[in-house]
Amino acid sequence: MRRPIIALSALTASFALATLLSATTSNSMYSQSYPAVVCPPTLGGLSSQISISSTKTQFQRLENRSTKTIPFNTLRYAVPKDSLVVSATGVTPVVWQSRSNSWAGGAICSGPITSAWFVGGSSDVTTRGKLIIVNSGLSEASVDVQAYSENGVQPATTLTLKAKSYSALPLDSLATGDKALTVHVLARAGRINAFMVDELGAGLRALGGDFVNPVTAPATTVVIPAIPNQLPKKGQKAFATHTLRILTPFESDAKFTLELLSADGNFIPVGFDSRSILAGKVTELKISPELSASAFAVRIKATEPIVASISSKVAINGRNDFLWSTPTPALTKMSMAITGLSPLIAFAGDSIDVKVAVTLINGKKSFATIKASDIATWRIPNAARSITIISSSRDTYAGALVASSNGYGYLPITAGSVLTRVEIPHSNIKVLNP
């Protein structure tokens, strides 16, 4: 009887041991990295500065044939001409461009895109805007550009870009003569980034300008979290005017409702409840709310996927300028370099609870918690080099408004490049077996 019991015990012990040792075997290993981001080139007559969070951040000039990278050695880098490829490692650099005494605007440097919708710009006689398409890859790229206007869908254009090059398309070539433009850039092959500069002028008189920041895809709910509301100065009665530009790019018409979120309260402006728009045609609608707050947000809910943005007219130093406030995705953990800028950040959401860390130029950190409902604004200290969203409540959106001597600008608070988790492929001869 002894041997059977020993045998059974051995079996039980081996099973117990095996169960303990048995860790799930997975052949999948991953590498995580932030893809390098691309900043827009500096077009003629403009000046450009890139805010970086670390002097050691590496970059390379787009048109350099060498693929070697070098450090910035500064926290705010003046870009002479080229588009820059920046190894930002998770902190999104911000580019601030301006034309002296004319306009200023900001854009985030971002990773390669597959699709970008620019709701902004114009193709009429006043426009001097450009659609900039950058190919930061080492081989030829192919891009489709599809424009929409108030007259409907325009003929699509396919562009081929050489390796490490960019192309600046005049906006008036996309829907000549049309006023309200929306452009869809679709990358077919290559490492593509796209930027839009909307600049207006009448003769020699500059009418302002701004970057139009893109959205990746149409959605049925969009939130534009930061729209500047320049209050009338003494003696002025009129409030600032804003224009909603909206497009449902697919085949069905849509109905949308616009809700305005401000410190003065939430409301649907007159005429914006279940408003119909035609499919494929860009619609512009004026909004002139009488608000006391310096910034407000809008939330648009539509029956079909839409893209939208709001242009706001502002005056600075006696000159007119405008800026494009665009929708942002919901806040996630991210960091953004803001050296040299001291933006006003507007958070929008039903229940806002955001923890933010601010890193100052001297390296010190301060923390802030923003709690509110509907909308909250928060001014970042002057000496900040970067902000980090440590945590955020659900469905909270944020955008930044920047004022400078040359003009106003808008920045979406979103990561230019997200942490990419790529599976490390492993060698297995099985791939050669049908």
Binding site: S33, A189, I424, P425, I429, L432, P434
Partner: protein
């Protein structure tokens, strides 16, 4: 009366040639004196007998002429004949040759003379020769010679004489024992050839008589009983030229002499080849039978003749004088090759049959007993052929065959999938893969091919080289083979066919059997077939000293066969040997019998390590790369977790689902607590199961898979399954009698539980196999991974990227293709991937692969192929990198060409210019136009050589670990992979296999060791 008168016209001189023949002589003499037609003259010629032969002859009043002991038979006959003057009467004189070991029947001479009365053309007539001891056995009725020199009688061995060959037949020749030869022709032809002192002189004389225009007949009414004392080594052979007194050597030498001296001249080269070839084959046979003396006789016989061509030339000149017709007249008497093959085949089959199916004397029943009260004239009642299907074994096999056919409906073609790569079209490819020293897999490999490739090549060769057909048939018939093998074992455990047949049926349906077949596990399937035979053969594992060394070597061969497929067999064998050695040591501690302990130790170590030597160098490589001990042929596929394994299910692709639980564990546990032999069997089963459970936690990276795969423990589970099945058989066999005779108690419940569990499992497993199991990984398929245009370029390296795995757990994997899909045997020698290539591929995927194309070009990789479906982002990412140009995009995938000059052999000039050189499969012969470095994009191996103008170029290792050769001048170069080491290993392997087979085969007996009754 006319016949009598005719007989009287003949004068018969009997010449008895004696040589130490006292044993047989009395009967010989007596038979001569009792002839119905008495001889006219008689004389005995004694060739120096040293026994009582001469005294016996003298006492019989037979005149004796003494001659030298080394005198040949022909010489003795001449001496005897010369003692008689030629008769002056008008009678025909005949010489009747009598050996001292032959006894003519009383009517022999009468019938011999009667046969030649009306046949004046006959020069020689011979009787029917019957056995001396068994006088019903037919020895000869005329003889001839085969093309390979064999003595040809056209009879079956020990053929029973029923008069089936009776009559008067024209033959090439007859034996000199009892032959009657016309004296005038004998003298005219010069008698027997002096060079043929003994053996084959009869055939030579017959042949010469035939070409001289005479006839030779065999008259079977005349009978002579012959002891064949010289041929069967019953006495020494002392004739001149009988080197070392070896009758076989003399026989073979004389056979060759007869053929070479008498055949037409243009046949001589062909005959010489046949003689040499057959001598070599026979000597190998003798070596295997451990008769080295006979083996050397075979070779020496031909050699002694061929080194003296003058003898043959003289003999041919002499024969030419008396040749009146062409030598080809004998062609009708030379046995056709087909008859020789048929007879050899028939003999081989008889031997096999007698060995495999020994006649069971106990089972024979008397007809009288069976039909005791019936009329003997009433024919026995026939059995309806349909009744055969009512036999459980037949019904079981037929059912299993039908079920297997249905379950294998997706496998009726060239098999592929699971662990099984595509099989090459022909056995030749398998042989090449086995013999070649360099394998074009991945970046190339010099690993030794596993011996199972050679076994598969042999099997495919039997099917005219159709390797895919063999594999299909193998997997189709595997369940039947498993059942047959298990049934043979279970029949030894129970007499009850209703237990053994279902048990063997379930064994063939066990979880491990189903999983092994479904996932193409060659080794496990072979194990399942062979494993039941091991306990049948190795009956005394504990007292192993009872097995002879011959048996030990036989077992070693069987184990080597298993080692050839997987070295898990070595682990199992080592484990069992280690456990047994502990027991041996305990026995030694008690008995202090050192001799016994050492005998056991030697045998056990031989069983474990002789197969290792037999499977070298493949097995030796495992000691360097330990994961090979746990690997199976083909692709590396994960096995199941311990939770499945403990239930007897090896898990992995193609295995039964977890909820289909076999009763294996239940049976083993029940058997552990019985008091029968089932307990011992269950102890082994527990051991196998525990080992399987432990090993199921191991993971290895092998066979071209850099990822960790859980070890497949199917091979261990074969042991557990067999033990559980055998234990179940023993339990049921024993308990049946108890259950029948007792009231219902716990044993009834346990037995019912066991049967119900087994029944439910069997039905469910069958159902699963016929439905979901039919779509298992192994299926017949003709699809390929590589697009056709990539296979057009010979030996082009292509990185292939694929997403592999189930829909919810896909992972990106890659490998380097040599322009084709993987085939059988290649995963087993696949090298590990070089880290530089892995990093470059990873960079392709994660988007940082700016320099990937340069790395690929450095390693001679010309294309990147992404097999669809695959992530579009990665495809776009590759598009965005420099150095890759899209070559095609189809529904099967996207192909990019890697920029730059790259290929297998590249000449890099001093200025860095790269020139692609032509290359073959492995070696190459091409020209370099200027000095430079010749880069070979294969893994570095010391056997790579380049010869330029007869000189070996200096070889260095590049940064990428590739071989580079420094060419100092322009000229022709020859690239080769020196396979000397591989050839040396193969030679070693062949020698070891021959030796072990020789040790394992039963020893042959010298003719002198064969009993006389066996000789007839």
């Amino acid at each position: 009366m006319a016949a009598q008168a005719a007989l009287d016209e003949n004068r018969v001189i009997a010449i008895i040639v004696t040589h130490d023949g006292q044993i047989w002589l009395p009967e010989t003499v007596a038979s001569l004196t009792s002839q119905t037609r008495a001889v006219d003259e008689i004389v005995a010629v004694d060739t120096g007998s040293i026994d009582a032969t001469v005294q016996l002859l003298k006492s019989a009043r037979i005149p004796v002429i003494n001659t030298d002991r080394d005198s040949g038979f022909g010489e003795a006959v001449s001496i005897g004949l010369n003692s008689f003057e030629r008769s002056s009467d008008a009678v025909t004189e005949w010489i009747w040759l009598i050996h001292d070991d032959c006894a003519p029947a009383p009517t022999c001479l009468e019938y011999l003379l009667a046969a030649v009365i009306d046949r004046p053309q006959v020069a020689m007539v011979g009787p029917k020769l019957l056995g001396w001891h068994n006088r019903t056995h037919l020895l000869e009725a005329g003889i001839s010679i085969a093309g390979n020199g064999a003595r040809w009688t056209g009879l079956e061995p020990l053929e029973y004489d029923q008069g089936q060959h009776d009559g008067i037949h024209d033959v090439l020749s007859v034996s000199t024992a009892g032959a009657l030869i016309r004296r005038d022709i004998f003298e005219e032809l010069g008698g027997f050839d002096k060079n043929l002192a003994l053996f084959r002189d009869d055939i030579d004389f017959g042949w010469r008589a035939r070409v001289a225009g005479h006839s030779v007949i065999a008259a079977t009414s005349a009978v002579v009983y012959h002891a064949q004392a010289s041929a069967s080594e019953r006495r020494s052979v002392d004739v001149k030229g009988a080197f070392l007194q070896r009758p076989l050597l003399l026989d073979r030498r004389n056979a060759a002499y007869v053929l070479l001296a008498n055949s037409t001249w243009w046949m001589i080269p062909w005959i010489a080849i046949q003689l040499l070839g057959s001598a070599m084959i026979r000597s190998i046979g003798y070596l295997l039978a451990k008769l080295p003396g006979y083996a050397s006789d075979e070779l020496l016989a031909v050699a002694t003749l061929l080194v003296k061509p003058g003898t043959i030339i003289r003999a041919r000149r002499e024969r030419k004088e008396n040749r009146f017709v062409s030598s080809r007249v004998v062609a009708t008497y030379i046995p056709p090759r087909w008859s020789q093959i048929r007879l050899s085949g028939s003999r081989l089959l008889d031997k096999l049959r007698s060995r495999l199916l020994p006649e069971n004397s106990d089972s024979s029943t008397s007809v009288l007993e069976s039909i005791e009260d019936e009329d003997l004239l009433v024919p026995a009642k026939g059995v309806s052929w349909l009744s055969i299907f009512r036999k459980p074994a037949v019904a079981g096999f037929i059912s299993l065959a039908l079920l297997t056919l249905i379950a294998s409906r997706m496998r009726l073609g060239s098999l592929i999938g699971g662990a099984l790569p595509a099989s090459p079209d022909g056995a030749r490819d398998l042989w090449r893969s086995y013999f070649e020293s360099w394998h074009q897999v991945g970046m190339g490999s010099s690993q030794a091919s596993p011996p199972w490739i050679a076994i598969l090549a042999v099997c495919a060769s039997i099917l005219f080289g159709k390797a895919p057909l063999f594999l299909t048939l193998f997997f189709l018939s595997a369940p039947l083979a498993m059942m047959a093998s298990a049934l043979r074992l279970f029949k030894k455990l129970t007499q009850n066919i209703w237990i053994s047949v279902p048990a063997s049926f379930i064994y063939a349906l066990s979880p491990v059997a189903i999983a092994a077949i479904n996932s193409g596990r060659l080794a496990t399937v072979v194990f399942l077939i062979v494993a039941p035979q091991i306990p049948i053969l190795l009956t005394n594992w504990r007292g192993i000293e009872k097995h002879s060394w011959r048996q030990i070597f036989t077992f070693s061969l069987i184990f080597a066969f298993l080692y050839s497929f997987t070295l898990v067999a070595f682990l199992i064998c080592s484990g069992l040997a280690a456990i047994a050695l502990i027991g041996d040591y305990q026995d030694y501690s008690k008995s202090r019998n050192k001799t016994l302990f050492l005998e056991r130790l030697k045998r056990r170590l031989s069983l474990v390590f002789v197969p290792i030597i037999l499977t070298a160098p493949y097995s030796f490589e495992a000691f360097i790369s330990a994961s090979k001990f746990l690997s199976e042929p083909g692709m590396s596929l994960s096995g199941g977790p311990a939770q499945l394994v403990i239930l007897g299910n090896p898990g992995g692709a193609g295995s039964l689902p977890w909820w289909l639980i076999s009763p294996l564990l239940l049976i083993i546990i029940i058997a552990l607590f019985t008091s029968s032999a089932a307990k011992t069997i269950a102890l082994y089963g527990t051991g196998f199961l525990s080992t399987a459970v432990i090993f199921s936690t191991f993971s290895t990276a092998t066979h071209g898979d850099s990822g960790q795969s859980r070890v497949w423990v199917g091979t261990f589970l074969v042991g557990a399954t067999l033990a559980a099945s055998a234990a179940g058989v023993v339990i049921l066999d024993r308990i049946r009698a108890v259950l029948v005779t007792t009231n219902i108690h716990f044993r009834h419940i346990l037995a019912a539980l066991l049967l119900v569990a087994t029944g439910v499992y069997s039905i469910a497993a069958l159902g699963w196999s016929l439905t979901a199991g039919a779509t298992s990984p192994v299926q017949s398929s003709r699809s390929t991974v590589m697009p056709a245009f990539l296979t057009a370029e010979k030996d082009t390296k292509t990185i292939v990227l694929r997403e592999i795995g189930s829909s919810d757990a896909k992972s990106i994997q890659f490998y380097i293709s040599r322009g084709k899909d993987i085939t059988l045997g290649e995963p087993d020698v696949a090298p590990k991937q070089l880290s530089e290539i892995s990093i470059a591929v990873q960079a392709l995927i994660d988007g940082s692969g700016i320099s990937s194309s340069e790395v690929f070009a450095d390693f001679g990789i010309k294309y990147v192929f992404v097999k669809l479906p695959f992530g579009r982002d990665v495809i776009r990412t590759i598009d965005s990198f420099g150095g890759f140009t899209r070559a095609s995009a189809t529904s099967t995938g996207v192909v990019w060409r890697v920029a730059g000059v790259t290929g297998r052999l590249v000449l890099v000039g001093e200025d860095g210019t790269r020139t692609l050189l032509e290359t073959g499969d492995v070696g190459a012969r091409t020209r370099v136009e200027h000095p430079g470095r010749v880069l070979l994009t294969e893994s570095f191996d010391r056997s790579w050589q380049i010869l330029e103008n007869g000189y070996r170029l200096e070889r260095v290792k590049s940064q990428q670990q590739l071989p580079i050769f420094i060419a100092t001048e322009a000229g022709e170069i020859s690239l080769l992979h020196d396979g000397t080491i591989r050839r040396a290993w193969l030679s070693f392997e062949i020698i070891v296999w021959i030796l072990v087979i020789a040790f394992a085969t039963p020893s042959g007996r010298r003719k002198r060791e064969i009993s006389e009754s066996e000789l007839a």
